[in-house]
Every structure is written in C-alpha cells, then in structure tokens.
Amino acid sequence: MNSVIKGTSYILAHAPDMVIHNGSTQTTERIVNPNSEYLVKLPSHIRSYEDALNYRPNQTYIGNMTPAELGEIPQPWYDKPMENGPRYGKFGEIMPEDEFYMMMQVCDVFDLVHLEKGFVADVKPRFTANPVISEDIAARIHDGIDISEIEHFVNEEHAEGLYYQDKLVGYVKRAHDVDVNLSAHVMHENLVSKASSVLALLYVVKNSGIDKSEVEYVIDCCEEACGDVNQRGGGNFAKAAAEIAGLTSATGSDMRGFCAGPAHAMVAAASLVKAGTYKNVIVTAGGCTAKLGMNGKDHVNKDMPVLEDMLGGFSVLISANDGVNPEVDTDIIGRHTVGTGSSPQAVIGGLVAAPLARAGMKIPDIDRYAAEMQNPDITKPAGAGDVPASNYKMIAALAVKQGDMEKAKLATFAKEHGMVGWAPTQGHIPSGVPYVGFLREQILNGEVNTAMIIGKGSLFLGRMTNLFDGISFVVRKNAGAAQAQEGGVSKAEIKGLIAEALRDFAASMME
C-alpha cells in the first residue's frame, strides 16, 4: 500500500542582519567592490520584523493565508502589507532573528556559539515561552558571556559575528584552526541550516501529533554540506537535527540534489515506508544563509525592501497508510534521466508528460501542479520573471503540443491547475514542497483529488556535470477514504456511529 502524508510544517526565521553579514551577494560585494553604492544603500532597505510578519507571502508560507487568497491580491505584494500579521500559523511560525540566534546556540553541541550576557537575559524568556521549545531544549541555553570576549573572537580568532539590529551580540567560532571545511563561515552556515531544520521538526511533531519515539528515520534534503577536510560532505544533518528535536528512536541520512533534493527525498521516504522498512519517516530541510539578499542589488535599485531576508524550513511526515491521509502514488514518478536532455521541453516532457502517459493519464487529468513555487515579488524585479507562472505556461504548452488540451485553454490553465508562488528563494525550499501542507488539507476536505509535485535542480552549479535534474510524484486522495465515501458512509460517519453506540452503552450501565 502507498504511504501517506500525515503531517507537515513550514517555518521561517527573519534574518535581516544575516542578509548584510552572511548573504553571498553582500559578502562577494565587500571583497570585489567594498565601497560600492549598493553596500551604502542596503541598510536602509532592510525590513523590520513587523514588516516581515505583515508580508503576505510569509503568512502564506506558515499557513495563515491560502495560495488562492494570496493570488487575489494584485502584485506586487510588498507594498500591500496586512495589519498585525501573526507570528504563529497552522504550519509553523516566523521566528525573530534574536530568538533564532538562541535556536542556533541550543543546536550547537561543540561549544562554537556564544551569546552576550545581556542579550541572553533579554531573549531567554521569550524563547522559552515558545510552545514548541520543550524543557530539554530550554535546558541547553548557556549563560551569556562578556562583549569583550565576543569582540576578541570576532577580531582576533576569525569568528563570524552574530549581529542583532546592527549590534554585535554573539559569535560562531571556527571548529578548526586550519581546515576551511570547519571555518567559522561554514560552521555558521551549517548551524543555521541545522537550527531551522530542528524548528521545522519540532512543528511537524506538534502538527501531526506523532509520538517522538515513533519516528524511525529522518532524511535531510537541504543544500549544505558538513564534514571536515577528509570528508567534506560526510553528513549527517538529519541525525544531528533529530538529536536536538528529541527523536531518540530515529536515525537518518542526507539526500542531495540541489533544488530537486526535497522531491527526491519525498520519493525515497514514501518508498521506504511503502516497502515496510520504516513506519514513519520525516523529510526535513533548514534554510540557507548564502541566499539571503541574493537579488538584493535589483531590489535596492528598484527602491524596494530587500525581500530575501527570510530563512525557510519545512518538514513532512510520511507514514504507513492509515486509510485517511493523502497517498504518495509511487507508481507515477517522473524522472529527468541522464538521457533526457536539458531543453525546457525535454525537462517538462520527462517530468510531467511521460509519467502521466505511462499511467494512461493526460496533463489536464491532474488537478494541481506545484513546481518551483518562488515568490514572484522577489524574482520579477530581478529579471527572473514569475517562475511558477512560467512553469504552468510550459506544462500547458506541452499539453497543447501533444493534443491533451485545446489551445484556447492555454490562458486559463494556470488558474485552474496552478497557483501563485509564495516561497522564499531559498533554493530547495520553494521546490514543489511548499504546497504539500495545503495539498494535504485540500485533499482531506475534498477540494482536490490529485496533484503533481515537481522538483527541479541545476546540477551544473556544482561543476561536476552540465546536466539538469528533476523528479516528480503524484499525491492523491487515499483510496480507502475514496472508497468509504463512494460506499455512502464516510470515516467521520463511522466514528459518529461508534461514538453513539458507546454513549448508549454507557447510559445503559448507569441505569
């Protein structure tokens, strides 16, 4: 039996100071062009935490707005904020930067992260008030240290400074004096990824209601690498994050494929559970500091706020079939193979048309498609266009080319089978998976029956191959749930009948 999607979580962390100090566009600019106008103008384009909360695509990511509701707001969205945007949503939360630094500190097990005394005293009560921060995690908070010690490590010992509202409040020190793979820069990047993954794991446990001890395996699918000089990508982010999240019965491993990583990991997790190897597997990923402010120059040039100030994370719990939750149909898997070719036509053909044809289906038979769900507010000003809209256009054009659909329906395909993008441009984060949370709900409430999730990855960036990559899978209404509905008695009705019988029984006992 197919495995099911039992729960999801989506978290963001606001990281405005990390945009300036750790985003690769900014760090490169400081080396190449230290006196540039961009670096001078940048600070005045950084958003406050409140602005990040009131930004509708962020609220969509954590589940407080649906993609359809976001789609009704005319673009651009950055100049149409909501009022009093909440921190918490049904999928997760938007954590402020100061609390996220504390999250990094509790996730550090090698004494690499230290925060300033006053900062710790200020942040700790707010951090520990977070419903997902359990006592075991709170117990990991260290006492703060003097600012002079922080300044020493940043100025003399190559540590990465942690800044909050432009003030030095802590550091991440190097984990080795010589090995560049353990430099402060790399340790900072990896600890950010780990901390955001841990936060997502805590939320998926909360949202799904699973007992932590029942999670057997965790697959991390971010785009970072951890290891030392002798094993640069040795791993294992998955197990490291599972440890802090308290998943004591789990082991795990890392799966990589650039932005296609999450889709590869979902297929692997669904297959492991379907095979009976494990009953509960979590796919997880944290965010990426390098991509903060990646398109900052374009945003500043267009006098916009720098919108890439959010670290993203997500987790999906894949479990054995319960007859209720949506199934991952591993019989319909699209693969971009070595021989597929890299033209967009070949890519969409391999990922969308070919697997559907093998299953005897046509492109319009799938209710919803989710490919690269990047927020167009971020990409359009940078000249990269509206990425989800381009994907829908390509899928629709291919449907027309192969005679699945009339040409007249080209214009309405995106509206009927797609949605606007809302995910931060954190590489693997937007890649198909942001929709899984909404999809699970839409299938459970009968709004949608089938969807295809598509992950795509630009492997050539690693300079090992010029090949492109991608993988897709179909999620559908649970066959058990579908049968129960067709038979005229739904699961809820059965539950109701049992409850009624039990009440009658209890009443008869009282008599």
């Binding site: 062009n33 036509q345 990269a384 381009s390 054009a397």
Partner: protein, 107 residues
C-alpha cells in the same frame, strides 16, 4: 550573468578570437536576455564579474530569434524549442536583443 559563465566567455573569446564567437542565449524574459547580451557585448552591467568593463562586442542571439531558428532543422527545433516558443514573449525578446546588438555588437 553567472560569474563562471562570464569567465568562460572571456576565455573562449581570447582563445578563438571574438570575431569567431556567437553566444546563444536561452533566457526566459526579454530583460534577462538583454542583460546577458549586454554582458557579452558592453561588459557586465552589475560590475560583479570578469567581464566588468570588458567590451567584447560579441555576436549574441536568443535561441528564439529567427537568425538562429533558420540555422536549425525544423523538426529538431520543434522538438527542442517549439514548446518554449509558445510560452515566451518572443517579440519582446527580439526587440531587446536587437537593441543591444545595434548599440554594442562589433561583428
């Protein structure tokens, strides 16, 4: 344009001579195509890469422009580019590319 690609374009131009190079772009939008075309003709407009201030003036076309289309067998073009031709704003791309070539192309 990606810094590594700028480096490769620069090196290929030095090795084979700029007059012997044609750059073919596949960007999805006129603006993005125009920026890449400007990079290989007038230099990197973002002042970030190896082509900053380097005016190679290379011949540069988008794959959807008629000059490239007529060089390719119609079946192959339909198989590889037909779908994107339906999707892209080809007129906008042609107008951006033509403008850049008229201003900066040396060959």
């Amino acid at each position: 344009m990606d810094l590594e690609n700028q480096k490769r374009v620069k090196e290929l131009s030095e090795k084979y001579g700029p007059e012997n190079i044609v750059v073919v772009l596949g960007a999805a939008e006129g603006e993005a195509a125009g920026l890449a075309a400007e990079t290989v003709t007038n230099g990197d407009p973002t002042f970030a890469g190896p082509l900053t201030g380097v005016q190679l003036g290379l011949k540069v076309y988008h794959v959807c422009e008629p000059e490239i289309k007529q060089e390719v067998s119609p079946d192959l073009y339909d198989e590889q580019v037909g779908m994107m031709e339906m999707v892209l704003d080809v007129d906008d791309i042609i107008s951006e590319m033509t403008s850049i070539r008229e201003q900066y192309c040396k060959y």
